[in-house]
Symmetry: C2
Subunit: 431 residues, 2 copies
């Protein structure tokens, strides 16, 4: 099949009719498949089942420093948990605050505190007329949702293969002191899978900001989530903490990570690493908000993954389950779409997503067609602030959850929907 844009209108009309028949046949199957969210599969969860047996009725519940993990206290987390999260955060355990399951909650709470109390001794953000936030796009919808809830103005910034477009970022932050922060998923970015270059990391750390309380929210969600156990096939982003210290901005960053996609989503542990002043501010308010984290679950994690090697071995098992799914997506898209539809997609070396760039003006239509045919995708536009993808072209594919055979079936639906939408849009353009 030649490229749709090269077909005559009659040929394209015929192709559209074929596609419509195919689509109706798919709909008739009554499928119920899901490629919407970055959930690990059952097989991945099973990898961490041994952790559930780590603590039993007769276990020693003291951490390595002798603290009884069953009782109150220990606001910043036990040594074992801080050490494990320090590996994921590429930082020192003493800079890590280890909490319960959710890094998203750590991010929300950090923004909430800065809104209410300010940071670094500056005016609390809720007393300002406007608070703006930079959103490299496509990006993560849950990040954007936090800023929206707090009434911020979200500014999309182009995300290149090297990270946010730094020309744009530098010009914006230098000119406007209402811009208080930026979201970053610096390694295996959600959804494009890119990893920030060393240059981008350095420029983010060193750039001149009009706001003295500008903060980089560094969500290193996929820091150890490679698709290959071979180090030469892995990305490793540079350390934002070292870069910020070097640039004389030691409190500019807050790093986040969690074991949600290492052990159990929702029942993992999460961590924050940040500069000295941010750390002190955080602990001060956290000490009012809670007595301490779930230390028993931290102990489970620390004993299950006691060192960096254990973590690497464990992540290699995840990779072995995930890599074939990413490979399948790539193969199916290439076979069905290359040379036929003007589109492209990412080829990440880690993370949980493939970012698909459909022909302009077709993303919403594709997602809606897929839904009608029983395949749930992430909502079109979700990867942009306010759900507003200006080209209506980006779709996030999340292949981790369905078993391979279901993923295969879902991808058949997907490519049919892509072709159908592309043919419809191409024909409409010729009217």
């Amino acid at each position: 099949m030649p490229r749709y844009t090269d077909l005559s209108t009659a040929e394209l009309q015929q192709e559209l009719e074929t596609l419509q028949r195919e689509y109706e046949a798919i709909k008739a199957k009554g499928l119920a498949l899901n490629m919407a969210r970055g959930k690990p599969s059952s097989a991945q969860l099973d990898l961490s089942r041994p952790m559930l047996g780590v603590l039993g009725e007769d276990s020693d519940l003291a951490d390595e420093e002798g603290v009884d993990c069953g009782n109150y206290g220990g606001l910043t987390g036990i040594a074992e948990a801080r050490r494990l999260l320090a590996v994921m955060l590429n930082d020192n355990p003493e800079n890590v605050i280890a909490v319960g399951s959710s890094s998203l909650t750590l991010m929300y709470d950090a923004i909430s505190r800065m809104m209410m109390f300010g940071t670094g001794g500056h005016t609390p953000w809720n007393r300002l007329e406007t608070v703006k936030w930079l959103c490299p796009s496509p990006g993560y919808d849950r990040h954007f949702a936090i800023c929206e809830l707090f009434g911020m103005e979200l500014i999309p910034v182009p995300l290149t293969d090297e990270g946010p477009d730094m020309e744009v970022v530098e010009a914006l932050v230098a000119a406007d002191d209402a811009i208080k922060g930026i979201w970053c998923v610096p390694q295996y970015s959600n959804p494009t899978g890119i990893t920030y270059s060393d240059e981008v990391v350095g420029r983010l750390a060193a750039m001149e900001c009009a706001a003295p309380d500008f903060r980089i929210f560094w969500d290193n969600a996929y820091s150890v989530h490679h698709l290959s156990a071979d180090p030469t096939e892995q990305d490793h982003v540079a350390d934002i903490a070292a870069a910020c210290r070097k640039a004389g901005n030691p409190d500019r960053y807050l790093k986040f990570a969690s074991t949600s996609k290492v052990t159990f989503p929702g029942a993992g542990i999460a961590g924050l690493a940040t500069g000295e002043n941010n750390y002190a501010e955080t602990v001060k308010a956290m000490g009012i908000q809670m007595v301490g984290p779930d230390k028993l679950n931290q102990l489970r994690h620390g004993r299950f993954l006691p060192a960096e090697e254990a973590l690497s071995k464990h992540m290699a098992k995840h990779a072995a389950l995930l890599a074939p799914k990413f490979q399948l997506v790539d193969t199916k898209l290439a076979n069905a779409l290359t040379g036929v539809v003007d589109c492209e997609w990412s080829h990440p070396r880690g993370g949980y997503f493939i970012s698909f760039e459909a022909p302009k003006g077709t993303a919403k239509r594709i997602v809606s067609l897929a839904k009608e045919a029983g395949v749930q995708l992430t909502g079109a536009g979700a990867t942009w602030p306010y759900g507003n993808d200006p080209k209506d072209s980006n779709i996030r594919i999340a292949p981790s959850m369905p078993p391979l055979e279901e993923l295969d079936a879902a991808l058949d639906v997907f490519v049919t929907c892509v072709k159908l939408a592309a043919a419809q849009v191409e024909l409409a353009a010729r009217d």
Copy 2:
């Protein structure tokens, strides 16, 4: 020994010298005992050890509705957890939001949301000149600390044996729309151990408030924490939810509870039950703050304590460990102080504290003397807003943590310090 106030100055002087010798002898022992915080003892924690074995490597991780507790989702908690917490909250499971370990965090987060976003469609509290909060005193220092952090003005209200002095409360809330809420520990109050009367519950629910967004923060921390398994020896506070609905104020209350003193402090589960509109507001913001709670730990709790009977039996075991400690405090105080020092103390039927009223102007001195002699007590004044006990008389005794023999030794120190401080103050008054 007759009452100090009845002694001649010479006799009192002699008694003081005796006490000082006793005190020096105690100091020489180099004790390190703690009656400061309401922590369960090791023996109490051991009661919940079987729960740690509930989930092992091969366990079914689906809740009773078939939800995989190992994966993402389920914002309001699993059915088993909501049901268990509903018993503690005296409410229906469908009104309960079940989260991770900390009810304190639920309270902090609720206040944080009302500050940022307002409640019931009213102006966010952070946009108001002043926000005031009623603090029945003596009360819980961690409650007061939340309000202080958010810059509220704390107003102490007398706590009677029936609950807050309602004449005072009603006059205040009717006159001032800056008063947005009240802290309540309605059953086995921290620290006085009293339980609100039905009349007080009804008046709190029905009183006219100048602020339409006035909220009762109902921290039912000790709802099942009786010191006797005999129902006739237990307090049971009336339901604030029913009272508020009946009075036409269905969104006035937020109820809180946790299993921190049922299973493991810090590794328990916590719940919020509230009216329809508050519930919807809470879930809306929580859905941005997190994907869902630790459902595996909820499953452990639900399987360990599957019904109200199991909970009652479990709490009876706690009571059997706690009651002798409360008895010991009462006996030791009575033997040493009755008829000698003008003081009184509470005789609670549940909860974690005994509230001690020392002679006016001696509490700080007693706590400081005890500390110097190696016995840590809750800071004097901690039970009042801003740490300011106007009579400097209230001391919170927390007998749960130390083993009986250590508690015995700590109480010997305590009563000596009380007598010493009382004799000093009485002598000084005669100067």
